[in-house]
């Protein structure tokens, strides 16, 4: 309110000065500035209401808390997602590769592993990046809101300056920006952002890894290159099943493990308790040794897998297992083409036992023909005993679960593995073969020979393999697959939540941008169009306002405040007032306005000499005072002496400058010296015209001097358009001139709408409408050009006629010449004649003397005009 009052006071003071000085255009100025104030007050109230109602200072704190909460949540999710993708990568990818293939070709596989192609790790990394970006966006918004909070007091301080005349032009853009930052931004961001629940399952990547180096042997001590499953349990009970062969190395998270079992050909060989807790000197058959593994960081532990069976090797894998022993000693055997041949030497009373898991069997032995001594021969007897090979049937459900997990894992990573290496990990469709489990007892007895004797050292028991047990059956199991599976399932939900949050943040950002653009655009329009809007509004107010007495008063014809009489007359007039107070007030007003007008008049007429004289007197006075003080108080005389000297010097310089400024001009000096008609005076007068003429010619304007000097005389003497009734010349030319003036005025009104809104313009239009004859059109053109420098410049820009002091004459001639040229183009010769006459062009070719005389005549004519003499 204080600022509004100050604004009104400043406005009133400015207008009072303008009215006192009787400056033209004061009426428009008053209306314009009142209109500006009305518009600015509206804007001020709009901003104020929005700032205090929709976005009070509390909104900043709300937006800050909101953004801080969203930022914290996003940062937490980002950290978890990064950890999750690291864990998924380490446990889901690397561990599975190891469990499936050990270190066999692993470097090559991982080297070809294409980054971001994994179906799980790729989206996880992308979501982590997206969440990180959302968190960064939230952080920037938070910073912006905090900055807005700091800038809010400046907005509140600057907002009322919209009401202050002139100052608003400086502060309006700043206010628009501050309003955007400290009001709109908190308002847009104070919307409640939803909470995002982090994914349910997290797996942390192990920091340390250890390696287990496997050596796999069968019952007979031969190395096993076929896939063997080894199950290890960690201390938390997770079961890792690795697919190993002889000399495989498997990486596992560092820690303590317990071997649970080893498996081959659908048979599980459990690790007995004695292996876990071995006693000295106690025999214990351990399929996996050591049964307790301690994997340290990057340490390698050797593990031996001893299968208690022998394997039947087929082309595509293992076809079966068997054990063959007699009296506790293993029997020799061979394994070829998916068959195992066990060689049993005939001995009486010592049966051999062959336990088989596989296909059927056959015995090759010529019973009754192998001599056993004493005229007897060996007979073989093979019978089933009901026994089984060691180990128990593998848990097929576990195998199925492992297979499903493996296929899920492989489908998610196979695109990221080079094509030529995929065959190492592909699992084919496979069925569990129809194997049999049985135990054969092979015994021999002696009997009578029944044929030609044959020397055969042993009976050959052929065991058929049933294919197969290979990589497609023996699939590893990574305990983290299930968690990875759950993560993959929850990923779309998480991504949806995050995208919703990101969208909200993005929408908030868009809201800020839209609002900010709107406010800044409005500010720009306000700054750009305010003068025009105010002017247009002012014109309407001035024309039609009846509500504002001052404007109504000013709209009238009589200008009451304008003193038309002398001071003496006014004072005499004031003395007739009956009321003493009124008389006194009127006297004071008259004295004050005359004093102000007198001062300004003096300043206007001789400002520099007046200022210099004032300064000289003041400096001299100061010098005298310092001199007196110096004499009165000897203390500090040096300083006073310096000041006095300075004041004296200033006074002296001001006096010299005053004398210089009051020197008469060169022209005046020449005139007073009675040599005004002399050469220098003439040159001075010439320079006053020639300098502007050269200037306007240099700027590309048409200067029709001196042709325009005498067009009136020519018309009066030869064409008689003024004295008599309308001649043919005038009848033909005047309509065209009228048309040109009409067109020109339309163009002026189009380019400068504020001119068209003024009262002078109406006067001009009325004159133009009434004008029929050339001198009336000249008067109308003078009215147009007399509307101000702006109009003169605009007309000059349109017509290229120089905006010189003699523009009215040039312009009148220009209009006539243009009309005549139009007739000339139509082939009317009289127009050519008249045009040449105006331009003093010779109609007939003359000799050079006549031409020279003509040129000299023109020169003399110019010269006379330049000197102000009658032509």
């Amino acid at each position: 309110m204080l600022l509004l009052g100050l604004s009104l006071a400043a406005l009133a003071a400015e207008l009072a000065v303008l009215f006192t000085l009787q400056r033209s255009g004061a009426r428009e100025l008053l209306s314009r500035e009142v209109s500006e104030l009305v518009l600015s007050t509206g804007l001020f109230l709009t901003f104020l209401i929005f700032a205090s109602y929709y976005a009070p200072p509390g909104a900043i704190e709300t937006a800050r808390e909101n953004l801080a909460e969203a930022g914290d949540a996003l940062n937490l999710i980002h950290r978890k997602l990064v950890g999750l993708s690291l864990g998924t990568t380490a446990l889901g990818v690397i561990l599975s590769f190891y469990l499936a293939r050990g270190s066999y070709k692993l470097p090559e596989i991982l080297q070809t592993y294409a980054v971001n192609l994994d179906r799980l790790v790729g989206p996880l990394s992308s979501i982590a990046s997206l969440v990180g970006l959302a968190a960064a966006l939230a952080r920037h918004f938070l910073l912006l809101v905090e900055l807005g909070g700091k800038l809010r007091p400046y907005l509140e301080a600057l907002l009322p300056t919209l009401l202050i005349h002139k100052v608003r032009r400086f502060t309006a853009p700043l206010i628009a920006l501050l309003f955007t930052v400290s009001v709109i931004t908190p308002y847009a961001l104070s919307l409640r952002l939803p909470h995002v629940e982090a994914p349910l399952h997290f797996i942390e990547a192990p920091e340390k890894w250890g390696f287990a180096h496997f050596k796999v042997y069968d019952r007979s001590g031969g190395v096993v290159s076929a896939p063997v499953l080894v199950a290890l349990k960690d201390i938390s009970g997770r079961l890792y099943i690795a697919r190993v062969s002889h000399e495989y190395t498997v990486a596992l998270p560092a820690g303590n493990y317990t071997a649970a079992w080893a498996a081959a050909y659908f048979t599980r060989f459990d690790v007995p308790g004695c292996c876990l807790d071995p006693k000295p000197y106690a025999y214990c058959s351990c399929p996996v040794w050591p049964a307790r593994l301690h994997l340290d960081n990057y340490s390698v532990v050797n593990v031996q897998v001893s299968l208690p069976v022998n394997l039947i090797y087929c082309e595509e894998g293992v076809g079966g297992i068997f054990t063959a022993q007699r009296g506790g000693a293993p029997l020799p055997f061979s394994s070829v083409n998916c068959r195992a041949a066990v060689y049993v030497e005939p001995r009486e009373g010592e049966p051999a036992f062959i336990a088989v898991k596989g296909g059927g069997y056959g015995v090759i032995f010529p019973s009754g023909r192998v001599p056993a001594g004493n005229g007897t021969c060996w007979y073989v007897n093979v019978s089933r005993t009901g026994g089984k090979p060691p180990g128990v049937e593998i848990d097929h459900d576990l195998l199925g679960r492992a297979r499903r997990g493996y296929i899920f894992w492989w489908n998610s990573v196979k695109d990221a593995v080079a094509e030529h290496l995929r065959s190492l990990f592909e699992v084919r469709n496979s069925n569990t073969p129809n194997y049999m489990e049985y135990e054969l007892m092979v015994s021999f007895y002696k009997g009578a020979c029944a044929g030609q004797p044959v020397q055969v050292p042993f009976a050959e028991v052929l065991i058929q393999g049933v294919c197969c047990w290979n990589d497609s059956h023996a699939v590893p199991l990574n305990p983290f697959w299930e968690q990875t599976h759950l993560i993959a399932d929850s990923l779309p939900l998480l991504a949806g939540d995050i995208i919703r949050l990101f969208s909200l943040l993005y929408n908030s950002a868009l809201l800020v941008v839209y609002w900010a653009s709107g406010v800044l655009l409005a500010a720009g329009l306000y700054m750009g169009t305010l003068p025009y809007t105010a002017k247009a509004l002012a014109e309407r107010l001035t024309r039609g306002a009846r509500l504002i007495p001052l404007l109504s008063l000013k709209a009238g014809e009589q200008q009451l405040w304008k003193p038309r009489r002398s001071l003496r007359d006014e004072i005499e007039d004031a003395l007739w007032e009956r009321s003493t107070i009124k008389r006194l007030a009127r006297m004071l007003y008259i004295l004050a306005s005359h004093a102000l007008r007198g001062t300004v008049s003096a300043l206007r007429s001789k400002p520099v000499p007046l200022a210099l004289r004032t300064f000289e007197v003041a400096s001299a006075s100061a010098a005298r005072r310092y001199q007196r003080e110096k004499a009165a108080a000897p203390d500090g005389w040096r300083r006073r002496y310096r000041l006095a000297k300075l004041a004296r010097e200033s006074s002296r310089v001001a006096k010299i400058l005053y004398n210089v400024s009051t020197w008469p001009s060169g022209e005046h000096a020449l005139r007073t010296a009675s040599i005004a008609a002399g050469t220098l005076g003439t040159l001075a007068r010439l320079a006053r015209v020639i300098i502007p003429e050269i200037y306007y010619r240099a700027r590309g304007y048409k200067v029709l001097l001196p042709y325009s000097l005498g067009y009136k005389q020519l018309e009066e003497n030869f064409l008689a358009p003024r004295r008599s009734a309308m001649t043919n010349y005038e009848r033909r030319v005047a309509p065209l001139v009228h048309k040109y003036l009409q067109e020109l005025s339309d163009e002026v009104a189009k380019r400068a709408p504020w001119v068209a809104a003024s009262a002078e313009w109406r006067e001009f239009k009325e004159a133009l409408q009434k004008a029929k004859r050339l001198h009336e059109l000249d008067a109308a053109a003078e009215l147009l050009l007399g509307m101000g420098e702006d109009v003169r410049r605009l007309v000059a820009r349109i017509t290229k006629v120089a905006p010189s002091p003699w523009m009215e004459r040039d312009f009148a001639l220009y209009l006539r010449l243009r009309a005549l040229e139009e007739f000339e183009r139509k082939g009317e010769t009289w127009a050519t004649f008249y045009k040449n006459m105006f331009l003093h062009e010779l109609l007939l070719p003359l000799d050079w003397r006549a031409r020279l005389q003509h040129k000299l005549w023109k020169l003399r004519r110019w010269h006379k005009w330049y000197l102000g003499e009658p032509i």
Partner: protein
């Protein structure tokens, strides 16, 4: 060189108006002569006003502890040159951090066991690398802008002061003066903010094992520091631009003439 040309331009403009005024005075066109002399004085007054604004800004910033040294056009040009260096350093720091992250990702991708971790590092540093990328481009252009403005600051000032004194060219001159003031103050302030941010920033070193391990953390903290400074800078530049528009309107619309009362 441009400084000399600028001073010459100022001298020429002042001298021309003064001489033209003398000519008009001697020809008896005393009012017009006063106009001309007023124009000559206006050129000097505008220089003084700009100097005053710079000095006041410098004093206020010193009082607020901002440490902006733009007390006169000489020190302003020098501060702009230093600002260009600061912005360039900030851009380089951002680029170096991005390069370090990229190199580490490449190293991880090349080593057999760590190949999948390259993607993980990409996810961990995605936001910071994006932010650093934007920030590096932003600071690089600010560096160019500061350098250009430091070079043309004197011509801007002298041309602005010269043109503002001429009524028909006042708006153009006012725009130049406002552009000079707003760009100088906002860029120097922004460089100060960025310089403070640079103090807390460390470019990861390839010889430090810990930097290789904590690259995501380092890139994140660098992105936060430079990003926050970038937000401050953007707000400062926006405020500078708004103030510049206002100053241009102020210089272009308010003209106190003693001879035209």
């Amino acid at each position: 060189m441009l400084e000399v040309v600028s001073w010459a331009m100022l001298g020429l403009a002042t001298g021309f108006h003064a001489a033209y005024g003398v000519l008009k005075w001697s020809l008896g066109m005393r009012r017009e002569a006063l106009y001309e002399w007023e124009k000559a004085v206006s050129v000097l007054v505008y220089l003084l006003v700009v100097h005053l604004i710079l000095w006041v800004s410098s004093e206020i910033s010193t009082a607020l502890g901002l440490g902006i040294s733009v007390s006169n056009p000489f020190s302003a040009a020098e501060s702009l040159r230093q600002a260009a260096g600061v912005f360039w350093n900030a851009s380089r720091v951002a680029v170096d951090t991005i390069m370090f992250v990229s190199v580490e990702r490449a190293v991880l991708a090349a080593a057999p066991l760590t190949t999948p971790l390259s993607g993980v590092l990409g996810g961990a540093t995605g936001w910071s690398v994006t932010e650093l990328g934007i920030v590096s481009i932003f600071y690089m252009h600010l560096s160019f802008a500061s350098d250009v403005i430091s070079r043309v600051s004197w011509p801007l000032l002298s041309l602005g002061a010269t043109l503002t004194a001429i009524p028909s060219l006042r708006k153009a001159g006012a725009t130049l003066l406002a552009a000079y003031l707003s760009s100088t103050l906002s860029l120097v302030y922004s460089s100060n903010v960025v310089a403070q941010a640079l103090r807390s920033i460390r470019v990861p070193s390839s010889t430090s094992v810990m930097d290789w391990i904590k690259v995501a953390e380092i890139a994140g903290s660098n992105a936060v520091a430079l990003g926050n400074a970038a937000t401050h800078t953007a707000v400062a530049l926006a405020l500078g631009a708004a103030a510049g528009v206002g100053l241009a309107a102020l210089f272009g619309s308010i003209y106190i003439s003693l001879t035209r009362v």
